[in-house]
Symmetry: C2
Subunit: 256 residues, 2 copies
């Protein structure tokens, strides 16, 4: 039976700016006695990629714009953080106390531009003053990591970077793709027959987001100790995908 198996890699170290993530992942796989095979996928929490890339910002150095100041008062949030959210976004969709729902510069819709105070720490400075932005180019980060891991292992792999996103109509966050390489974002089954010979209709599957949710489930939120999940048994052929596949074009979006 073709099972899908997701294994969080134990004992992953705290990631520092400049760390070699490929090396850390290979070490963690070694400790877990997991040998990479063709078709395996590594799913990474956004935070370790951002940390390795040094995406820290010191709030003390942020000068809020008048727009950020006004919005900060309205939603009762730190104006410097609001300024960063605006800088990282293309558009503000909605606001409510404590939350700004934006179209991120990377294209997806998320809360507070993916910037979070919790579970992050600056490099020895006052932690409360530092925040962590999303990676500059998550698809690029995933591609680079995939290439390094493929070179080291000699295997055909996928790499995915995920974050936790809220949903429009449902409570709670789920894992969602913010960057990928070596696996499809969407799988298009349109035109294929079903068991009765009809043509399938609902058949554009957000396979990467389904995998992101699955991996998020075993990563947990509190446990920064397991920010990397090894996946075996992804049921679709690997191919080069990108985040853009998963983003609904604004003009086709009925819910803005």
């Amino acid at each position: 039976m073709p099972s899908l198996t997701l294994t969080p890699l134990p004992g992953f170290p705290m990631v520092q700016t400049g760390d070699d993530l490929a090396r850390l992942i290979l070490d963690a796989l070694g400790r877990a006695q997991l040998a990479l095979e063709d078709g395996d996928i590594l799913v990474l929490a956004q935070k370790i990629v951002s940390k390795a890339e040094g995406r820290w910002v010191n709030l003390a150095a942020v000068q809020p714009s008048p727009r950020a100041e006004a919005l900060a008062v309205e939603i009762e949030k730190d104006a410097r953080l609001v300024e960063l959210v605006l800088q990282e976004s293309r558009a503000v969709l909605r606001t409510r106390p404590g939350t700004i729902i934006v179209e991120h510069r990377l294209g997806f819709v998320c809360a507070n531009a993916g910037i979070d105070h919790s579970n992050v720490a600056g490099d020895g400075s006052n932690q409360e003053e530092w925040v962590l932005l999303l990676p500059q180019d998550p698809d690029g980060s995933a591609r680079s990591l995939r290439q390094q891991l493929e070179e080291a292992s000699g295997k055909r792999l996928g790499v995915q970077i995920i974050d936790s996103h809220g949903r429009a109509w449902r409570v709670g966050v789920v894992g969602a793709t913010i960057g990928l390489s070596g696996l499809p974002g969407l799988v298009d089954l349109r035109g294929q027959p079903d068991l009765f010979g009809y043509t399938l209709r609902i058949t554009l599957i957000a396979a990467a987001d389904e995998l992101a949710a699955a991996a998020s489930l075993v990563m947990g939120q509190a446990a920064e100790g397991t920010p990397v999940v090894h996946v075996r048994g992804f049921p679709y052929p690997l191919c080069e995908g990108q985040l853009g596949e998963l983003i609904r074009p604004k003009e086709q979006d009925l819910f803005r």
Copy 2:
């Protein structure tokens, strides 16, 4: 290492009205040589539950209301199908050609009230004329199945019923919970400290939906042959959950 393993059960038969799903699942587990253990979860595609419950409607017997007739012209869809969509829904949120996005009577937002022509067949009649509604009470169906499976196995189990839902801002469908029993819908980590002693913020996790997406990934869409997925290693304690946990109250929903 605590892996999460999802195994689609092979050789599941075509489900007919009145079939004993618990029996079919136990048979399928037996064929797969999978012995149930405490904490295991069975995830079921909505279609087999609806079929077992005989949720077929013959379109030829449906009399569209004037409202359905008008909407059908507007979105170029069968007026009888539109009538059923409206009957199964509390509110219409948006429409576009071929699609009505509704608040289903069960509470969640989905396209066309989860009614689909594809990959379903009536009981020997002209297939094109028959459509399949969602189960009457998916939480209740899950509860009943869980009780039967627990009684047969002597183990503490979870049962989840899923469908494929679109998302507001992202392309493609993902598995989503429409009924559950024996596992939490949401996991609330609020108030728990992170690695740095801060209090976690984004910590209301839609664990059941993450599991639904994971299971959907291995079910596929075309493969009605694997509408049941066995899950081992769900990382949160089992408890009695319900669909309602996952539904955002209308008054807190910024995207209607």
